[in-house]
C-alpha cells in the first residue's frame, strides 16, 4: 500500500503542476482545451490524493509499523477512533490531509460554481493546483508519510495522550478545513485580478465559501478551546499560545471581510480593501501553518515541529510577493463606485469595525512575532505571554463589542438625529442599567464590568431588531408573533443570522469576563479528609477525598481519585480525576503520565479538579481545585455563534423577486424586464 501511496503522490505532483500551467495559460490565452485540461487536472489530483489517504489509513489500521509514520503515531492497542485520527496527528499526515481536502474543495468549487463565473474558473483551477502541488512537493521531498523504517518495531509509539481526546479528533480537521477552504476565495480573488473582472461578481461566487471557511475556523477554534480546557489541566481555555494565535488571525480578517463585503455588495465601495482582506486571510492561514510547523516560536503544540516550516516560509514569501504585485498592478481598476456620504452611517461603522478587527489581528500577530523582533533588535528573546496579550487586546476587544451593538443601530448612507435617538434609547439604557446593577452588586473588576454592561447593550440591540422586525410582520400580515419571528429570520437569513452570531459573541464576552473571578487552591488530602473552598458567588464547596483506585483500561493504566462534592451542605455527587499512564501493546509505558480533569459544570461556574499526584506512594493525594465562573457559557455562546453562521449560509430563501413579493410589494427595478 505504501507503493500505491507514493505512486499516488507522484501522480498528484505531476498532475498538479500540469493543472497550474494549463489553468493560467488557458485563462490568459483563452484556449478552451487548456481550460478543460486544468479542470480535469483538479479532479485527477483529487482522485490521486484520496488514493494516498486511503493507502495511509490502510497502513494505520493494519499496524504496518515498518511505515515510520504509523510507528510514530499509533500502537496496536490504540482505539480505532484515534487510529483514524492519527492521519492528521502528525506533520506528514496533516500535509496529506490538507492537500487532499484542498483538491476536494477545488473540485467542488469547479463543479458547483455557476457557469456565469466560467471565465474565472481556469485561474481558480490553476491556483488550487499550484497550492496543492506545493503541499505534495513538501511531502515528496521533505516529509513523506509513506517513508519506511530500516526495521519493523513490534509495536508503535502510540498517540500522544493529550491527543487521545474526542476534542482532538474533531478540532484539527475543523481548523484545517477552515484554513484550507480560505484557498477557494483566495483563488477566486486571484482569478478576478488575473482576468480583470473586478466588479462585484466574483464576490457572489465566493459568498458561500467565505462563510464555510469562517464557520470551520470558528468551530475549530471553539473545539480547540474545549480540548485545552478539558485535557491540558491548567484550568483555562485560551493561553495566547502562538498556534492558537495563528488560528485566530485568519478568523479575525475573515470576520472583517464578512462585514466589509456587504458595503461592496450594497454600494460598490471598498473593492481594494476586500481583495486585500481575502489575500491577507489566505496568507495568514499559510503563516499559521508555518508557525505551527517550524517551531520558530515556542508553543505547547511542539509535537508538530519540524524543518518543513521553512518550506512554508519560502512559499509564503513567494505567494505574498506574487499576490500583492498583481494586486498593485490592478489598483486602477478597483475604484469605488460610490462615496461615503456621512460619518454617521452603517458604512462608516463597518469601516471602524474593520479597523478594529484588522487592528486586533495586527496586535496578535505583533505580539506573536515580537520575541523574534526583539531578538533581532535587542539581541534578547523576550517572552510574550498572556499578561501582554490581555493588556493590549482587552480594550480593543471591548471596543469591538461596543461596535457590535452600535453598527446595526445606524442606518445605511446617513442617519438622522431623531433616528439615532430612537434606535439607541433602549440599548443604551439597558447597558447602563446592567452596569449599575453589577456595580451595586459589588463587582469591582473594571474590565469584567464593562464587558458585561456592553454585552447588555448588544443584547438589547439584537432584541430590539428582532422585536421590531417581528412586530412589523405582525402588523402587516397579521401573523402571530412566533410565526412572524420565524419568517423574519427565514426570509432575511443573512441579516438575522448575523444577529444570532452577534448574540453568540456577546455570550462569549460574558463568559470571558467570568474568568476574572477564577479562584484556585492546592490541597493535600488523605481518604476521608475534606477541603473547603469558597465560590465567587459566596457559597461554599466541601470536597471529601473518598480514595484512590488503580486499574487497567484499553491502552492505559489508570490511577483514579474520587471526591464527594457538597455545596452549602447539599450533596451534589462525586467527581473523579485521573492520572493515566499510557502503555503500548506490550504493556510498556509510552509517555509521561497525563492528567484527566474532573469537571462539575453548571450555568454559573465550573468546579475543576485535578489530581496532581500522591504522597509517598499512598492514597494521600495532592489536588488542585479551581472554580471557573461562567465557563459553560463559552460553549453555549459557541453553539449560538455556529447556529447563526448556519442560518446565514443556509441555502434558499427565495430569489430577490420573490422576496419583493413576500415583502408586500411588486416593484420592477430599472432595467428589469
Amino acid at each position: 500500500m505504501t507503493v500505491l501511496g507514493n505512486l499516488a503522490l507522484w501522480v498528484a505532483f505531476l498532475v498538479g503542476i500540469w493543472g497550474a500551467l494549463t489553468g493560467f495559460a488557458g485563462g490568459l490565452l483563452g484556449r478552451a482545451d487548456l481550460q478543460q485540461s486544468a479542470r480535469h487536472a483538479v479532479f485527477a489530483m483529487c482522485a490521486a490524493l484520496v488514493t494516498a489517504v486511503f493507502a495511509l489509513e490502510w497502513a494505520l489500521f493494519h499496524h504496518d509499523f515498518n511505515v515510520e509514520y504509523v510507528a510514530a503515531y499509533t500502537s496496536r492497542n490504540l482505539p480505532i477512533f484515534y487510529t483514524w485520527s492519527a492521519l492528521y496527528a502528525g506533520q506528514k499526515g496533516s500535509l496529506l490531509f490538507w492537500a487532499s481536502v484542498l483538491s476536494l474543495f477545488g473540485s467542488l468549487a469547479l463543479t458547483f460554481t455557476s457557469r456565469r463565473h466560467a471565465p474565472l474558473l481556469p485561474y481558480v483551477a490553476g491556483v488550487v493546483c499550484a497550492v496543492a502541488a506545493f503541499f505534495v512537493t513538501v511531502m515528496l521531498f521533505a516529509a513523506n508519510p509513506f517513508a519506511r523504517l530500516a526495521f519493523t518495531p513490534l509495536d508503535g509509539n502510540g498517540l500522544n495522550p493529550q491527543l487521545q481526546n474526542p476534542g482532538m479528533v474533531f478540532h484539527p480537521p475543523m481548523l484545517y478545513l477552515g484554513y484550507i477552504s480560505i484557498t477557494i476565495p483566495y483563488a477566486f480573488a486571484m482569478a478576478a485580478l488575473l482576468s480583470r473582472r473586478l466588479d462585484t461578481d466574483w464576490l457572489v461566487a465566493i459568498r458561500k465559501w467565505t462563510l464555510v471557511s469562517w464557520l470551520f475556523l470558528s468551530i475549530g477554534l471553539l473545539l480547540g478551546m474545549w480540548w485545552a480546557y478539558v485535557e491540558l489541566g491548567w484550568g483555562g481555555y485560551w493561553a495566547w499560545d502562538p498556534v492558537e494565535n495563528a488560528a485566530l488571525l485568519p478568523w479575525l480578517t475573515m470576520t472583517a471581510f464578512l462585514h466589509s463585503v456587504m458595503i461592496q455588495e450594497k454600494r460598490g465601495m471598498l473593492k481594494k480593501w476586500n481583495l486585500a482582506l481575502v489575500i491577507g486571510s489566505w496568507l495568514l492561514s499559510v503563516m499559521g501553518t508555518f508557525i505551527t510547523r517550524s517551531g520558530v516560536i515556542s508553543s505547547v503544540h511542539s509535537f508538530t515541529q519540524s524543518p518543513v516550516g521553512y518550506y512554508f516560509l519560502v512559499f509564503l514569501v513567494v505567494a505574498a510577493a506574487a499576490s500583492f504585485t498583481l494586486y498593485a498592478r490592478r489598483l486602477p481598476l478597483l475604484d469605488a463606485e460610490a462615496r461615503l456620504e456621512s460619518m454617521v452611517s452603517r458604512e462608516a461603522s463597518f469601516l471602524f469595525n474593520n479597523l478594529l478587527f484588522v487592528g486586533i489581528a495586527f496586535s496578535v500577530l505583533w505580539g506573536t512575532l515580537f520575541p523574534i523582533l526583539s531578538e533581532l533588535v535587542q539581541g534578547t528573546k523576550v517572552t510574550v505571554g498572556p499578561p501582554f496579550f490581555n493588556q493590549v487586546n482587552i480594550p480593543l476587544g471591548l471596543a469591538l463589542l461596543a461596535l457590535t451593538g452600535i453598527g446595526p443601530l445606524i442606518a445605511w448612507r446617513r442617519a438622522s438625529l431623531p433616528n439615532l435617538r430612537r434606535q439607541f434609547a433602549v440599548p443604551v439604557t439597558t447597558g447602563g442599567f446592567v452596569g449599575l446593577i453589577l456595580l451595586l452588586g459589588g463587582m469591582r473588576d473594571g474590565w469584567a464590568l464593562m464587558a458585561i454592561a456592553l454585552a447588555g447593550f448588544v443584547a438589547a440591540t439584537v432584541a430590539q431588531e428582532f422585536a421590531r422586525g417581528a412586530h412589523a410582520r405582525h402588523r402587516q400580515y397579521g401573523e402571530p408573533y412566533a410565526l412572524a419571528l420565524a419568517r423574519l429570520v427565514g426570509r432575511n437569513r443573512r441579516r438575522y443570522g448575523g444577529y444570532i452570531v452577534h448574540t453568540g459573541i456577546l455570550i462569549l464576552f460574558i463568559a470571558f469576563a467570568g474568568m476574572a473571578f477564577k479562584t484556585e487552591t492546592q490541597v493535600t488530602l488523605r481518604p476521608g479528609e475534606r477541603a473547603t473552598i469558597r465560590s465567587p458567588y459566596g457559597w461554599t464547596y466541601r470536597l471529601t477525598h473518598l480514595g484512590i483506585s488503580q486499574y487497567d483500561a484499553l491502552n492505559r493504566q489508570v490511577t483514579a481519585a474520587t471526591l464527594e462534592v457538597e455545596r452549602d451542605g447539599k450533596r451534589l455527587g462525586v467527581l473523579t480525576t485521573e492520572k493515566r499512564q499510557h502503555v503500548d501493546g506490550l504493556g510498556r509505558p509510552t509517555f509521561q503520565p497525563s492528567t484527566e480533569v474532573g469537571i462539575r459544570s453548571d450555568l454559573r461556574e465550573d468546579l475543576y479538579v485535578v489530581l496532581g499526584g500522591v504522597v509517598n506512594g499512598t492514597e494521600q493525594a495532592v489536588f488542585r481545585f479551581t472554580i471557573n465562573p461562567l465557563v459553560w457559557w463559552v460553549w453555549y455562546g459557541g453553539v449560538v455563534l455556529v447556529v447563526g453562521g448556519l442560518v446565514v449560509m443556509w441555502p434558499g430563501g427565495g430569489s430577490p423577486a420573490v422576496k419583493r413579493v413576500q415583502a408586500g410589494y411588486v416593484v420592477r427595478l430599472v432595467g428589469e424586464q
Binding site: M343, F370, S374, V384, P395, L396, Q522, I548, V615, L669
Partner: protein, 198 residues
C-alpha cells in the same frame, strides 16, 4: 476412629487445607483504612500516579507568592508561568524548584519586585511572562494601539472629506419613472420603510 459422616470428614479436611494454605496479605495490598479513621494504604503501583509529590503547605497557596509566580516563566519549555506549570504539569521538576527559590527569596525579606528583579538578574528578561516596559519593548506594548488610533484619525478625516464632498455634489436628477407602482403604493412603501429598523 473419627466418629463423623463422610460429609463432615471432607468439610474438616477442606478447613484444615485452607488453614494450612492461608497466608495473610502483605500490608501494601491490605484494604484501605476507612475514611478518616487512620493512615491511608499504599497504592498498588505508585509509579502509575506520576512523580511522588510533597504535601501542600499553606505557603504554596499564598496569594502574594502566586502573583509573583504568575509573572515568571517556567524554564522547562512548557511556555507557562511558574505557578500554572507547578499546579498543572506535576511531572515537571523545574517549576517546583523555581517555586522554592521564590519562597527562599521571600524568606529573606525581599518584596515582590525585588524577587522578580533577582530572577531577571539570574536568568535574563526572558524569565518574565511579559517584557518589561522599557526601550524597544514599549513598541511591543503600544505600537498596535498607536497604529489603530492613527488609522482611526485618518479614517475620520477621510470620512469628513467624503461627507463634505457628498454634501457639495448637486443632487442627482430624479430617476426615470420605471416603477409600476401607484402613488398610494409608493406612499405605503415610504411609510413602512420609515418604520423599519436600521
Amino acid at each position: 476412629m473419627l466418629d463423623c459422616t463422610r460429609r463432615e470428614f471432607f468439610g474438616l479436611l477442606g478447613g484444615l487445607a485452607s488453614a494450612a494454605l492461608y497466608r495473610p496479605l502483605p500490608p501494601s495490598a491490605a484494604q484501605d483504612s476507612l475514611p478518616g479513621t487512620g493512615p491511608s494504604g499504599r497504592l498498588f503501583d505508585p509509579a502509575r500516579a506520576g512523580r511522588p509529590l510533597p504535601p501542600v503547605t499553606a505557603r504554596d497557596n499564598d496569594a502574594a507568592i502566586q502573583v509573583i509566580e504568575k509573572q515568571l516563566k517556567c524554564t522547562c519549555g512548557c511556555n507557562q508561568d511558574v505557578y500554572t506549570c507547578r499546579t498543572t504539569d506535576f511531572s515537571c521538576t523545574t517549576s517546583p524548584a523555581m517555586h522554592q527559590r521564590v519562597l527562599q527569596l521571600a524568606d529573606r525579606g525581599q518584596d515582590a519586585q525585588e524577587i522578580i528583579d533577582q530572577f531577571v538578574r539570574e536568568n535574563g528578561v526572558q524569565i518574565l511572562m511579559a517584557p518589561p516596559k522599557r526601550g524597544f519593548n514599549l513598541a511591543g506594548y503600544f505600537l498596535p494601539t498607536v497604529l489603530i488610533l492613527v488609522a482611526a484619525a485618518v479614517l475620520v478625516m477621510a470620512l469628513r472629506r467624503w461627507a463634505r464632498a457628498a454634501a457639495a455634489r448637486p443632487a442627482a436628477p430624479a430617476a426615470p419613472a420605471a416603477l409600476d407602482a401607484t402613488a398610494a403604493e409608493l406612499e405605503r412603501l415610504r411609510r413602512e420603510l420609515d418604520s423599519l429598523p436600521g
